[in-house]
Symmetry: C2
Subunit: 310 residues, 2 copies
Amino acid sequence: MTERISGVLAPVVTPFRPDLAPDVDRWIAHCRWLSDNDVGLAVFGTNSEANSLAVSERADLLERLVAAGVDPGRLMPGTGTCALTDTIRLTAQAVRLGCAGVLMLPPFYYKGVSDEGLFRTFAAVIEGVGDSRLAVYLYHIPAVSQVPISLALIERLLKAYPGTVAGIKDSSGDWNNTQAMLTQFQPRGFDVFTGSETFLLANMRHGGRGCISATANVNPAAIAALHRRWQDDRADAMQASLDGVRAAFQKFPLVAALKTAIAHWGRDPGWMRLRPPLVELTEGQAGELIESLKAQAFSMPGLPAADRIR
Amino acid sequence: MTERISGVLAPVVTPFRPDLAPDVDRWIAHCRWLSDNDVGLAVFGTNSEANSLAVSERADLLERLVAAGVDPGRLMPGTGTCALTDTIRLTAQAVRLGCAGVLMLPPFYYKGVSDEGLFRTFAAVIEGVGDSRLAVYLYHIPAVSQVPISLALIERLLKAYPGTVAGIKDSSGDWNNTQAMLTQFQPRGFDVFTGSETFLLANMRHGGRGCISATANVNPAAIAALHRRWQDDRADAMQASLDGVRAAFQKFPLVAALKTAIAHWGRDPGWMRLRPPLVELTEGQAGELIESLKAQAFSMPGLPAADRIR
């Protein structure tokens, strides 16, 4: 890869049919809307319910997305699973399809594992895939994975696989951690993305590359605008406006809240559905969310409505 | 199923070849040795590194084990994964092969999920498999999964799926929790297995059915003997002896320690290998473990040596 992906990416939410199978048509339509709003596609992230999808379901969805004509140069699928062999399979597929990079969780079942064990995992994946086009973005989300990616591990991986170990999504929510990575690793071509737009402006001002944020599913244009115009006089005001929208969503379980907004503004109740173990918002929660978004004049212009999808 | 499985089961450790693929022959030989020592096979447990195996690898191994003539009536494979559809696939296979039951982790990626979400998961698996032969043993191992199985969830599952929700492996290490389940649920045919032999005697004395324990991989005969003779005068002394052996293993990362003992007493260094993110013991740790086991006159009689496996 010569030019690295940057900007704003959405961990694309996954719609489900009544039988809980992924709804491919609704999903591709949402991916297109996001692309039209200048947002890259980090499909199969935490907010995609990707870990509730079988490996075969993920592989099938990615194949269909690229076949549908979505630009793989704007794709960063999540490929990290608990199992080395599954991770190799999904990563190799992403490379074969020409994806800009992959977002890789560490194996997350065993807790308290050593950096040596994590190093061996990433090394085995990189060598198992064995393709110079591979760009790995590490996924640090300790509150969910419970398996953090330490600075020492990044240092070791960068030394062993320069070029291939391309960056990180830092979902720690800890700006000190993000800043340490920006200082130590960004100058060496290790691209730092924050895990939410809350830190987008700060990240850009310190040399980072963008953010990969759940709310980019619902507020893509405004977040992408801040990424383009972060040196603008109005940047702080734009950040404050993004923060207001995000706060409204964060009052609720996030995946359910995102789907509620898409269902509402897309007039498509089928979008409310989640795959267990996640559950939808109650009616009361959904009403409260929509009201608080309307109070901020939030909307989702151009969102494909249910009757326009098939 | 008319007669339920009981007694001592081992979460069978999984040997790996130099290329990190599962070593099927060594694995089946170890399964046979465990069966000969009166221990059932909870293959694909935490100590099996099952969560480091691809779903396809697990399915293939189980198929081969049954084809090799191991009695499926003594098998309780782990089938719980993060993904509903993978869990249904593995569970349906186990039922088709005639396994006595399945040991089912809750989906463990998302944390802080509701009992409603977990209920829907187990319900969707049970209904997705749709076979009256299915016996589900819930797997409560909060320190690793970080997703506990509450008493309220068990109550709800037992009411909705009596007969199918057959019991639990309680790896909380919290005797109060085990005792609460023995009191509330064992009388209703919900079979309680403790997650280690440390609580085997206490469990039997309170009406439980046995244990599913990592150290049954290395000390099967003695643990199975206590299960058979728990009403014996010598039962407390037998428990104390088991506790001594377990303490020696627990000083080290457990899976690596179990494999070290098998490698030593089986004169088969290949057994030392783990799949990342787990790593083997250092030479110093391995030496210390073997010495402390020898000091207790520990041995593994009849363990298949490397030259007898193929």
